[in-house]
């Protein structure tokens, strides 16, 4: 509740003033003379009204993008309202109302687009699709006239495309101002060229990249210089040419992972990417007798056969030599399959036990066929120890050595 008597009085006065101003307007008799209400974009639109009292009311018009008010020109008792070009050029519905005192004259004009194509606005996407006939790209064609109006529904648009030896021509019609066609891939990969035409106006050329579909299962093979587990040479794996269901070689760079599981069920992994459908990868030989089972995967998509590889031990036996104080242990000579000195770097492991308890595990790479361990008296005080030496999977225990 607001007790504002002064406001009430002012409001009443205001209302009175408002009413009087409304009743002051002169009555005039207007008649619409323009009989046409269908126009084509670009036409000059002039609405004509007859007037009896020569007053000059304005004309409100509302079109697709906005509203405005036009001033008339009066010539021998006729009011002329000329529509601005920006409004008469746009297709759509325009409603108008003569802003005379009674405001009863109003109407609607229809502006149709021009039946001529000026621009072919085309949208193509996605730009690359998969071969096989299921995937497709969509071409949307929006032909517009010179005033940027979309053409009426059911305008014919030809959508043409070429792939390998074939050329196609599909006829579609516009609806809601656009026309579209889904262009499906074929079984082969390659480039597809697309264009469109409407009322003899041609669009420019577009390209769809048809990529190979997903890879199918493949075969792997291996190559190695010898079958010995020397921990030095490299075994190479390679795939067969990987193809999709339709015989297209998969795209270069397809990632292939090789999983190698050995006797201890440890998994080694190596990988490669395809070039011309072939991926290859390498793995260093084991340093002890082992059996590998190899399988390659394009993860989640395709897999290879399983490959079995056996590695023979390169080393059949070795000697162990203790120095006088038993503090220097020399393992070797380490001889490979032809009795040649094994290449440097073979892992030699020495485990030191005291009363069945592991005290220390020392690891050294071989050098020129030998590995030498020195037990310093800080870590190993004088006592009796047991030793265990392992080279290339061959374990040799030495018990009760006093140092």
């Amino acid at each position: 509740m607001k007790l504002k008597f002064t406001y009430l009085i002012i409001t009443c006065l205001f209302l009175l003033v408002d009413n009087t101003s409304m009743s002051n307007t002169v009555k005039d008799d207007f008649k619409l003379l323009t009989k046409v209400n269908q126009f084509t974009a670009g036409d000059v639109i002039v609405l004509e009204f007859s007037t009896s009292k020569n007053s000059k009311p304005k004309l409100y018009i509302s079109h697709s993008y906005g509203n405005t008010v036009l001033k008339p020109t009066l010539k021998s008792d006729i009011l002329y309202f000329t529509f601005p070009k920006t409004i008469s050029n746009k297709a759509g519905v325009i409603n108008w109302q003569l802003l005379s005192s009674d405001g009863t004259l109003s109407g609607i004009l229809q502006i149709a687009p021009l039946a001529e194509v000026n621009t072919m606005e085309t949208y193509l996407g996605p730009p690359s699709i998969a071969a096989g006939g299921n995937d497709f790209s969509m071409l949307v064609v929006m032909p517009t006239d010179v005033y940027d109006n979309t053409l009426p529904d059911s305008t014919k648009v030809n959508i043409k495309h070429q792939f390998l030896d074939n050329e196609y021509n599909n006829s579609v019609t516009t609806e809601h101002g656009i026309s579209y066609l889904n262009i499906f891939s074929e079984t082969k990969s390659g480039r597809m060229l697309v264009s469109s035409e409407c009322m003899e106006k041609n669009s420019k050329e577009f390209t769809i990249n048809v990529l190979p579909n997903i890879p199918t299962n493949f075969i792997i093979d291996f190559e190695r210089h010898h079958e010995y587990a020397d921990g030095n040479q490299v075994t190479s794996f390679s795939t067969s040419i990987i193809k999709d269901t339709y015989g297209n070689i998969v795209s270069d760079g397809t990632y292939v992972a090789f999983y190698i599981s050995n006797q201890d069920e440890a998994i080694l992994k190596t990988s490669g990417t395809t070039v011309n459908g072939i991926a290859s990868a390498k793995m260093i030989h084991p340093d002890h007798e082992d059996n590998w089972s190899v399988k390659a995967l394009i993860e989640g998509i395709a897999e290879s056969n399983s490959l079995q590889l056996a590695y023979k031990s390169a080393l059949s036996d070795y000697d162990i030599h203790f120095s006088d104080d038993n503090r220097t242990i020399t393992v070797g000579p380490l001889r490979s399959f032809m009795n040649q000195m094994i290449p440097d770097g073979l892992e030699v492991s020495l485990s030191v036990f005291k009363d069945e308890k592991l005290i220390k595990n020392l690891i050294k790479p071989s050098f020129e066929g030998y590995a030498t361990f020195t037990l310093d008296d800080n870590n190993f005080p004088n006592d009796t120890y047991n030793f265990e030496i392992e080279v290339a999977g061959i374990i040799k225990p030495v018990t009760n050595k006093k140092i």
Partner: protein, 505 residues
């Protein structure tokens, strides 16, 4: 003596040295910390979302059945947001004849049309205040690459005020159908083509709700502790319950309450406030009272661009209460005619008109009225309301004539006085004001007139108040004091002599 002086001098020197150093360090450190402010990593990227809802017309999508790619909810949301923003920036542009924001929501070739029109309007000093109140879009087409969408927006309800040199020359409501082609550019769904397909004048036909069954003997209600702020933290079920029992026992059957617009959270109505409102109606139901809910209290803007927000506010409240058994009806706005002068009569009237349409479109069963502050204004929109209501604070001698004149003007709709009363303030600011006995006399006389002419009424108000917010009648103490003494029960909780005549029994 000289020795002591020297030591004092030394101490003073050392202390002043320390002070100077401390001051310098403090200065440098404040400078350093000042330079470091704003370099807060969390605010560096401006990742916080500052979205403000400024345009919320009612939008109802047709079920999705479009050609091309299947539409997902998230993309549709983005399209809707950008599409409505496009309408909003366009309306701001036509109102101000500037082009800010247009380039974000219209493609290069589409925005040209708007720029040209604005140039034209600027030259003729035409401005257009407009809004859309309803959209019914259908998604026609969505391209496979998700970059192009076609929408037909059916029956867009547009309200426009065309002004020439700031003077209103046309007010119009139109219902139009648009075809829209949108392109996704730079992350915005921009309008590429906008084509008006059909248009016709818009006038909603509402069903008049029969009001012959209502018989209002009521009172305006605010709790004594928190008048005009009924739904704030002091909201107490117990005290409302106690008050409603007093009202019922006094022989009354209804109350009129007020929903403040901003306090309720504007377009985003606060659920807690809404619950309190519902609770109030539950208490009324328990006491067998009906409630006339007055919307938009403390709202006085009416500007066309805010209509959609106002309507969402009303929509939420009406939806919540429309099935409540205690609901009597809707009072769209309290004393809107007081805003005629400052906000323009036609604008306020158009706002009320469209708000009645909205409330009636949601609630088809409860009557709608406008609480005019005087009987003269009650003619406005009388064809739209279900019953006419006005407030009467003038001389009681003229009440009968005023009422009968109004009935003559509007014979087929009940006219109800939803506020009347007399302040019993007599004190420093008004030494010759009405006494409590004068107030009692006033109510006795009023009830006699009501009984004679069978007038339905709601009095102002149950309590005397001592805390009156400045928004109600300003800061002036003589007004505040008077405003606080309209009650039937005084500030100490004692009934005043007028209480005897509260219901005419």
């Amino acid at each position: 003596m000289t020795g002591i002086n020297k030591n004092i001098l030394r101490a003073a020197l050392v202390i002043s040295y320390i002070l100077v150093i401390a001051l310098v360090v403090f200065g440098i450190s404040s400078l350093f910390s000042y330079l470091n402010t704003g370099a807060d990593r969390s605010s560096m990227l401006h990742t916080e979302i500052k979205k403000v809802e400024q345009y919320l017309p009612k939008i109802t999508w047709a079920p999705l059945n479009n050609e091309g790619r299947a539409m997902d909810a998230q993309t549709l949301d983005q399209i809707q947001d950008d599409y409505l923003d496009a309408w909003y920036v366009k309306q701001v542009s036509y109102k101000t004849n500037t082009t800010v924001g247009i380039d974000d929501y219209y493609t290069e070739s589409a925005r040209k049309n708007i720029y040209d029109n604005i140039l034209l309007n600027k030259k003729e000093t035409i401005s257009v205040e407009s809004t859309t109140l309803e959209h019914h879009p259908t998604l026609e087409f969505f391209s496979e690459d998700g970059q192009l969408a076609v929408i037909t927006d059916y029956d867009v309800v547009e309200y426009k005020r065309v002004l020439e040199k700031g003077k209103l020359i046309l007010e119009t409501s139109e219902q139009s159908t648009y075809k829209i082609i949108l392109l996704l550019e730079d992350g915005f769904w921009r309008i590429r083509h906008l084509i008006k397909k059909t248009t016709k004048p818009y006038k909603r036909q509402n069903k008049t709700i029969g009001t012959h069954a209502i018989d209002i003997k009521g009172i305006n209600y605010y709790p004594q502790k928190n008048p005009w702020q009924m739904f704030n933290d002091d909201f107490s079920k117990d005290s409302i319950s106690k008050d409603f029992k007093i009202i019922k026992d006094a022989g009354l059957n209804s109350v009129r309450i007020f929903v403040p617009y901003e306090d309720f959270g504007k377009a985003a109505v606060r659920p807690k406030k809404l619950d309190k409102l519902e609770e109030t109606l539950n208490i009324a139901e328990d006491n067998n009272l009906k409630v006339l809910v007055t919307l938009f209290d403390f709202y006085g803007d009416y500007s066309v661009l805010n209509w959609s927000l106002n309507q969402r506010h009303a929509e939420i409240i009406v939806n919540k209460l429309k099935d409540h058994p205690a609901l009597l009806g809707w009072d769209i706005k309290n004393e809107p005619n007081l805003d005629f002068e400052s906000r323009n009569t036609t604008l306020v009237t158009a706002w009320l008109n469209s708000m009645i349409d909205l409330v009636k479109s949601i609630d088809e069963h409860h009557p709608v009225t406008i609480g005019w502050s005087n009987a003269e204004s009650a003619n406005i929109l009388q064809e739209k309301v279900d019953f006419v209501s006005f407030h009467y604070y003038e001389d009681l001698d003229n009440l009968e004539k005023t009422y009968l004149d109004l009935k003559e003007n509007i014979p087929n709709k009940p006219a109800i006085i939803t506020e009347f009363g007399l302040s019993s303030y007599r004190g420093l600011w008004s030494p010759f004001g009405n006494s409590e006995n004068d107030q009692a006399e006033y109510h006795q006389e009023a009830q006699t007139v009501f009984a004679k002419n069978n007038i339905q009424f709601m009095s102002w108000t149950l309590y005397d108040y001592n805390k009156i917010p400045k928004e109600v009648i300003g800061r002036l103490p003589w007004r505040k004091q008077a405003q606080g003494c309209f009650g039937f029960i005084d500030q100490n909780g004692e009934t005043k002599p007028a209480f005897k005549y509260i219901s005419g029994k």
